[in-house]
Symmetry: C2
Subunit: 720 residues, 2 copies
Amino acid sequence: MFLLALGLLAVFPTARAEDGYDLWLRYRPVQPQWSAAYRRGVSELVVPPSATKTLDIVQSELSRGLGGLLGTAPPLSSQPTKEGALLFGTPRASPAIARAGLDLGRLGPEGYRIHSLTLDGHRVIVIAGNEDVGVLYGAFHFLRLLQTHQPLEHLDIASAPRIRHRILDHWDNLDRTVERGYAGESIWDWHKLPDYLDPRYIDYARACASVGINGMVPTNVNGSAVSLTTPYLRKLAALADLFRPYGLHVYLTARFSAPLEIGGLPTADPLNPAVRAWWRAKADEIYGLIPDFGGFLVKANSEGQPGPQDYSRSHADGANMLAEAVAAHGGIVMWRAFVYSQRQPDDRAKQAYEEFVPLDGKFDSNVLLQVKNGPIDFQPREPFHPIFGAMPHTPLMLEVQITKEYLGFATHLVYLGPLFEEALRSDTYARGKGSTVADVVDGSLFGYAQTGMAGVANIGSDRNWTGSHFDQANWYVFGRLAWNPALSTRDIAEEWVRMTFTNDDSFVRPVVAMMMGSREAAVDYMTPLGLHHQMARDTHYGPAPWLSGGPRADWTSVYFNRADATGIGFDRTITGSNAVAQYAPPVAARFGDIKQVPDALLLWFHHVPWDYRMSSGRTLWDDLVIHYTHGVDVVRSMRQTWESLADKIDAERYAQVSTFLQIQENEARWWRDASIAYFQSLSHRPLPAGYSAPEHDLQYYESLCFPVVPGHTPLPPTCK
Amino acid sequence: MFLLALGLLAVFPTARAEDGYDLWLRYRPVQPQWSAAYRRGVSELVVPPSATKTLDIVQSELSRGLGGLLGTAPPLSSQPTKEGALLFGTPRASPAIARAGLDLGRLGPEGYRIHSLTLDGHRVIVIAGNEDVGVLYGAFHFLRLLQTHQPLEHLDIASAPRIRHRILDHWDNLDRTVERGYAGESIWDWHKLPDYLDPRYIDYARACASVGINGMVPTNVNGSAVSLTTPYLRKLAALADLFRPYGLHVYLTARFSAPLEIGGLPTADPLNPAVRAWWRAKADEIYGLIPDFGGFLVKANSEGQPGPQDYSRSHADGANMLAEAVAAHGGIVMWRAFVYSQRQPDDRAKQAYEEFVPLDGKFDSNVLLQVKNGPIDFQPREPFHPIFGAMPHTPLMLEVQITKEYLGFATHLVYLGPLFEEALRSDTYARGKGSTVADVVDGSLFGYAQTGMAGVANIGSDRNWTGSHFDQANWYVFGRLAWNPALSTRDIAEEWVRMTFTNDDSFVRPVVAMMMGSREAAVDYMTPLGLHHQMARDTHYGPAPWLSGGPRADWTSVYFNRADATGIGFDRTITGSNAVAQYAPPVAARFGDIKQVPDALLLWFHHVPWDYRMSSGRTLWDDLVIHYTHGVDVVRSMRQTWESLADKIDAERYAQVSTFLQIQENEARWWRDASIAYFQSLSHRPLPAGYSAPEHDLQYYESLCFPVVPGHTPLPPTCK
């Protein structure tokens, strides 16, 4: 027997590399003190008699998970035969579940209950839902209990999503380049679809389902109309067939000019009957191939994309045309509010509000307006978007960016949970105090018929999916928050760490603390005190607060920082662009008053003299330098924390994270030094005592040039 | 003990996926009938006292390999203490090896001996070389013996490379797109270099060393000059440091216009002193960072690339300028002979010869001219390049394409061994009968001071490295042939199958047979009887024998097939372009005579009437249809063979190969049907009895359009 076991071991001549592919579904053995209790707690797996694809997947995932966690998977049975039986299914599929008589009334189609009870004389655990997909979500929740070392006694869990559409937006092009992608090329191998189905597609669907993500848009919002041609729809249908049992719906970006480009029509005017007929026929074709197709995501009249305004029509005209095409099939349209005119505005932050708020109530009922968390563009910190709260008759989806376009790409450890949480908990005061963005988005504030939350995916072909091990947490927290925006992102970080690395508390505590502080550190070393959009042109790689010139002012850093000899910051009060007036009066009053505005948003809303006395008692200039420096210090301490944990986890992941933290520390220092060098050239003030001068002079930082940067089409090789 | 072993097993909740990452270095346990003998044969591993990085790698690879193959790695010792000790090293590093007194005189720096002998009273095996890298090559050879179930008794192996520079050319761009790449994006993550060293780089070096590849060019011949800037040289230096202990040298492509683009000079004229000084300084900078830098690879004045002819200088002028810059450092210049003028020629096949043969003897001694196997461009079949044999005073490297640009991309199973072997064994008659291309390339015919063989890599970030499991064999066979061009590619196929899949003869025999027939099948279903370049424009995906128009005639299919109502084929005899006259007289006589030319090259050299009577007794038209059809039949039978082997190997690799063979069968049928449909529209002849008509009409095939194809920049989305 021992020889046999050794023989089996020899099948694995080198230990399986911990390359991160397994994500948070690693299912490594639980600590010994838990395994006996868990084996008693789950003594057999009762398979419902009416199999469906989804229930087969549930059984397979439970067997795989429990097999990994407990060493061996519990035996299968068709009836509960002993203490510790685990049942799963819908009352329809499983007479035993039906006999258990659980109240599933308020769970909806995706909710579940996990309940300890006595059935046929045995203490059992039941995972039940109204529909198969709820059972699947419940199974992942159940596995999470074991993965995070929770007791299995007296379980009484009920959960249902508070947001209906929980969607990953992939900014992936058909040639597998990924706009703002830092994790390798797209995982969607369109050329080989529909014939070859990469096994990775299944692991993607498992990961999504495990956190409750129920929709995905595989194509870029800036993508081509080719994805709407019949050959590509057949490819998409193959993905949809794979994803369906996981409750995952496919959507497509709809390029507004598709009727011209692939339809042979002379116009894409949304009020033109031939155009409307073309989109209806296209929708019919799609639904013929993919009956549960989710709908369209549209970026129109923004950054050069075509749209209804090309024909002097409104966004509502455009959105409603597409909405009409998919309505009969139950589809939705997600129309992005991220628009800004080709003409240069007085304040880009105001544009989306001005464009869309007047259209409130003019959208068809299956249109959702997809609004970024802040009014500019996924900055390290923004105030909440003023549209939230301002459109009571239009379902507003929240769009967040999981990929770290402005937050250091893959190599910076920045846990985005606190950023998402900050946005969701912002109080719009739309219906008085306590009208949070989350209340808007989950529909409770205005009674929206449709609700949604979208995250711009950070997923690519890199073995670890997201370019770094810690960026997996951002995929994870997005899904968990989209399911329930009220969850604590600290709790989510902790469960992710336990599932992904280890339940060793001496690792979990410092790593969760490091994650929780990481976003504020990035704000500090990049854009403290309300600064924003200070990154290099186009690539957004590295600091460039000096950036000016080019085609439009609002694509420069100086437009946003407004720094000069007198001070720094964008006056968005009544004396400036008055963007502050787009917020509800109590919010406007707070943000608009330099005495009341939080330090963290000071320079977002105010142009402030360098010697302005901050609440700290120091001058603005000194505080600015201190914030930049603090950001670097925090990263250094993150790196040191990590180094102290070397023996707690596998060498492979330890080493990659360690190298990336070193890169992050170098780049944080670069951000700090370059920013201070530039702003000091304007403020002409000395650094506070004890704060070191930038390593190089300003000219050096301005001379740095990076001709090829991931996530962006290469620039001409102009660097000498 | 059993519980312990089970516990260890539980660390692997799901069996390690056979995803192909391990290549031919899988080291799975040998069959039981071999393991006892092997354990006796290798009872301990004697580590030389003077460690070097390379010898540490040898020890680690032997321990890893033997550990996998035998279940446990043999114990290490510092002296041979028993029968079956395995020693490795150089006489310098190991007194025991020195005592063994093996004659290593004729092995050179890279050769090795593997020898059974009695040492200190024990029967031992010695792996010895003059230099560490020879020992490393010998260690991989030794492991191959066990991997392929060879006896270890009475070993007396001596091996040294017959070609000095054995190089992989990566056509990889700095943005990680890969020109003609079908295995995902580039594995070179330039953005994170030099800080982050992907562990995959080491596995790449291991794989290269295991087949004797000793050089690599990580940048595209069509690449940008950015790779020559200091930041990128530092990145390259980090790779070079990693690769050095594996005997793997890095090279760079040199964009001829770099002095203008990154040097700030007003010219790149190779006779301009400032230009020459710039290249010398650049070479000095490179060698300062990478003392063993290999040299430059240049594509000049070809397909729009800049070159010396832009300044009315010759290729020799250009090559010698670069050669001078690297000569003092021991570097070489590989100057590609794949040039054709911007003006349309009477026959593209003649151009390289006309350009370069007059320059014979005019190149510096450290220049190698890199010549493709045939005069057009890596077609499924070409005659050997007429330059081979025609430049006795200029070292000629052979360039072959491992990536399957013209051979079905990743999804077609085409083993390229026979193609390479056919090229190498072609008789140039340059010094009379028996003057093969291999004799030219290995330097034996003309006494070249430098020898080389380059393969355009098929490597990318796909988990299996090469886009398909069987394409790994093409990387493998390239390396093995570059080491020794006289090897049998059937033998190489067999050893690769045994190492990569299984030693089960009932699998090995049919799979080797399938591989050996696969290239001829591709020739048949794509371009039989000497046809060439009938692929779709630019992308080279799928058939387009009707292709005409566009910027130049020699970028069309009709230019090459010359099909009309009277017949088909390119007259390259005296009555046509007379390209045949570029060959030595006996070859020219054979190729130029329609009665003597091999059927396989008939339409390469002759325009032939449709009713021409072939050696088969059938008409050309009938034989053409029969060849196309036979190609499809062979692929079908390959697929059926594979299906019969389902239980012989792992499910993962079985499934992917199976799907790909189905794709190949569909695409072979497409090639056959489209080609027959087009040529029949000209020949107006019926298909031979029993041969089915194309599935669709010609219009259908002509209408197919693929806007996005891997390995090629996307075309505008013109498909409707």
